[in-house]
């Protein structure tokens, strides 16, 4: 795959990265730009996979982007800023081959509530780890972003902002619409060390904007704030673990656009056919082995799927632990099959 300018990396600031993916005739995915700087590392690869039975005509070969960091995690003060542009009809798969993103401990002298805005908080801000991902998805382009969860260690502070911009999100024509699949999940920490939501702060925000002639409109915002507001054990419900109980991992899956429509409908149907809570099962038919194992997994995963506005389907889940969530989600994504069909098996790296 031709990379046009291999020397551009000198432009990037620490932690910054920039990717521009375009399609050259007759449909060869090409990286116009690929720059990054320590502690961020970006690797790309065009897979041999060609989507043959795609929901869209003339499907382009997906390009893989591997999001890496030195040490497989973020140290206090690390600021990662990745900007990705997907030009029309390109397809990008983003994964984290190092596994979960570890958020290392932040040393802070004073304790209290965190505020992200304001100048006097500047020093505090520098001690946080921060990751900003900004993706622009042009007409007919698709992003499949299924990373491993972030694992905040005891006493860590982290903020993550993921901004996705689709070009003219209100257009009806499927060939013109962008597609988006984003998974964002966070765990209670290192369970092997007995960590149970013991970090100071983890904020995750996912936004989808529609841009039309320079006018921007917010289509979706999913924001979770897990803040240890007080260090006092008597503070009760201000502890993060009280707000996530009984879950050891919580997460969100955002689905949008024609390429993920069948997956979105699959989640909606599966959710609608969950057994009623508090109802009784009058069915006398013996359930098959496959059904039973599926039900067992479900028992440990609490989830909802909702078709919110502008055609988005939002799946929210909470599970006992990472393994349970992973096998549940991986199971559903594989059973439905369209991710593997459109982007190749490798897109499902997190559950392989």
């Amino acid at each position: 795959m031709p990379v046009l300018s291999p020397f551009q990396s000198s432009i990037a600031k620490p932690g910054q990265g920039k990717v521009v993916l375009t399609l050259l005739p007759p449909g060869i995915p090409t990286l116009k730009t690929l720059t990054y700087k320590y502690p961020l590392k970006l690797l790309t690869r065009t897979s041999g996979f060609v989507p043959e039975s795609s929901a869209s005509k003339n499907a382009a070969r997906p390009v893989h982007l591997y999001l890496l960091s030195y040490g497989g995690g973020l140290l206090p003060g690390d600021q990662i800023e990745v900007s990705v542009t997907l030009e029309p009809c390109t397809r990008l798969v983003v994964t984290t081959p190092q596994g979960s993103t570890k958020i290392f401990k932040t040393e802070v002298e004073e304790v209290g509530t965190t505020r992200l805005a304001g100048g006097e908080e500047e020093t505090r801000l520098q001690k946080m780890s921060r990751q900003v991902v900004d993706v622009r998805i042009d007409r007919g382009a698709a992003l499949c972003y299924l990373p491993d969860p972030s694992v905040p260690f005891r006493d860590s502070r982290y903020e993550q902002v993921q901004r996705f911009t689709v070009v003219d999100g209100t257009v009806r024509d499927d060939a013109q619409r962008s597609s988006l699949c984003v998974l964002d999940w966070v765990t209670q920490g290192r369970t092997s060390r007995g960590e149970n939501w013991d970090f100071h702060s983890w904020r995750g925000k996912n936004e989808v904007w529609s841009e039309n002639d320079k006018k921007k409109k917010l289509l979706l915002r999913d924001s979770v704030i897990l803040d240890q507001e007080s260090q006092d054990p008597a503070a009760g419900y201000t502890l993060i673990r009280e707000r996530t109980r009984p879950h050891g991992v919580v997460g969100t899956l955002i689905l949008y656009g024609p390429l993920f429509e069948s997956l979105a409908s699959f989640f909606m149907d599966t959710f609608a056919s969950l057994p009623r809570i508090g109802g009784r099962n009058w069915s006398t038919a013996p359930s098959t082995a496959a059904d039973a194992s599926h039900n067992n997994a479900d028992g440990n995963v609490t989830w909802t799927a909702a078709r919110v506005r502008a055609g988005f389907v939002l799946v929210k889940f909470g599970a006992r632990d990472f393994e349970t969530a992973r096998s549940w989600l991986g199971g559903l994504l594989r059973r439905e099959g369209s991710i593997a069909r459109e982007f190749g098996e490798e897109a499902l790296l997190f559950c392989s």
Binding site: T113, A117, K217, Y237, R243, I277, K316, F317, G318
Partner: protein, 249 residues
Amino acid sequence: MHALLLLSDSALPLGSFAYSSGLESYLAHNKPLPRSTTVIASFQRFLELSIASIASTSIPYLLAAYRDPESLVTLDNDLDASTPCVVAQRASVAQGRALLGVWERAFRETYKNQPDWAPESSRRAIDVIGRFSDDLKSSVGGPDDLGPKGHFAPIWGVVCLAMGVELQQATYIFMLNHAKAVLSAAVRASVMGPYQAQSVLASKTLQDMITKRIEHEWETDTADAGQLVPALDLWVGRHELLYSRIFNS
């Protein structure tokens, strides 16, 4: 003072009592309770989580609408975009529209003729509500329609501004009304008796809790509003799965 009492009246026809804000689903999901926990303790936990959550997701919008009524349309859109589940979305929109209805049919008559000394912002708020309400009536309202929705919190902010209620008080009543609705749902779901509910409502603990949550969100920008209690989104979203329901949320 008069406006304050009107807005805090439980007879204000907003239909708030049709919603349990996830309590019904929470009770179903936490059944049976472990021996060490009583129903009341479990409810106390829910109330505290619910108040923290409604504060972090709604108060920034209420404050922003009050401080800048002209931004109502944007705030309404952004809150709609930030509401992750349809159950909560329906509840918020139904109450917001009901409040608009009450304003138009009952309050507007009294408050539209503002005396000269009335702050200019109240007059602006009245204009904004009028325009917003017209927009709302003329929008198609399909599921993919991105027009005005009529979410509760920002409309509450603007209506309070129009009626000359102070911001601090407007926010406090909003939170107290939420607590009242949850408590009333608890009574109807047989969690506790009406006297016990009143005693929770009157308690210093609840007052402190509300004051603290308002303080916590006072400077929060709407772009930084978010869910403090991820588990609550799951309970509210799964309300639709309950075999039998007495509430709309």
